[in-house]
Symmetry: C2
Subunit: 166 residues, 2 copies
DNA sequence: TTTTATTTTCAGTAATTATTGAAAGTTCGG
DNA sequence: CCGAACTTTCAATAATTACTGAAAATAAAA
């Protein structure tokens, strides 16, 4: 397999993986391209390499920056913006976990929490509350593990893995 | 808030959470309905409660059964099928993790693995391989943690949490 | 075997989500 | 301030994904 072919396969793999895990295909592909680019790249280059429009490139680059996965870089004497990706995989994982937790776990957790306290003292009401408490309890545990991961450093991760894999 | 209102809020919350995490809305809502149903329910009841078609109900119930989240039940002297959900949250989490790993992590891992060994000895080729190895290494670690979780029992989970949260 | 209750399938359609591309906005040098 | 270089926005459209409902298949009862 040729290098360029391999790169394209990687964009595609990363893109598919992204869609499966709640990140849109283009965003993941731009990230993939930046991950295998040694030098900072421009919006133009992203558009050409992935065959996407300027608007699409722009909005997804911005989201990657918001998530902390990509940084803007300016070159002296140039007006164009250049972009580079964070390359450390554990840092990438933590940043993704942080964003998804914030947007997709936190609100659900809060909704379940509220449902724990409906006023209904029939046996069905009691059973419902107890079910919600049960779900809330497990979800909270997952949430705090996730928060610990998000705020951890690589050293913590290594120790955790050593303990868990053993 | 009334009980029925609370149930509906729960269907909606669980459905949204599902879509965010790669499970389709109806599948998650049927699961939610079964989670708060003490008695086994029929396809008819699911259709009425969630206002969905028979085809939609059928295909999603089947997927829930495939995932091991729902069981068929037969009542003596009746031809209709009844359904009940697994209620233990850690078991539910393990089953979901298992299915998603199988369909969405395993293939990506394998693709990355193949990209590690392209034949290209330019500096760019070497850098690409090293990037792929790096990604593969982190992804493998995540994968083995996940597999350990999937095959674990509640006791293991409790111990793990005790260690990690402390 | 025929009738009836029930489940499954799937082509057509609807709903949702992502992308384009051109126009508007911004920023900077002269 | 003006114009060029570049970035951002967003209405229209395309692509993807999910759902409906009626017909076909299945299975039990008569």
């Amino acid at each position: 397999m040729e290098l360029q072919q391999a790169r394209e396969k990687f964009y595609q793999t990363w893109g598919t993986m992204g869609t499966n895990w709640g990140i849109n295909r283009t965003m993941a592909q731009i990230h993939a391209f930046l991950l295998v680019s040694e030098e900072p790249v421009t919006t133009e280059e992203i558009m050409e390499e992935l065959l996407i429009s300027r608007g699409n490139a722009n909005i997804n680059i911005r989201t990657l920056i918001d998530w902390g996965l990509v940084q803007r870089e300016l070159k002296a004497g140039e007006r164009k913006e250049y972009f580079t990706a964070e390359k450390d995989m554990w840092t990438i994982s933590r940043r993704i976990a942080r964003e998804r937790r914030k947007k997709e776990l936190e609100p659900a957790l809060q909704a379940i929490d509220e449902l724990r306290s409906i006023k209904d003292n029939t046996p069905e009401g009691k059973k419902f509350r107890s079910r919600m408490s049960d779900i809330h309890s497990t979800a909270s545990t997952v949430d705090s593990l996730l928060q610990r991961f998000i705020n951890s450093n690589d050293n913590w991760i290594v120790k955790m893995i050593a303990y868990l894999i053993k």
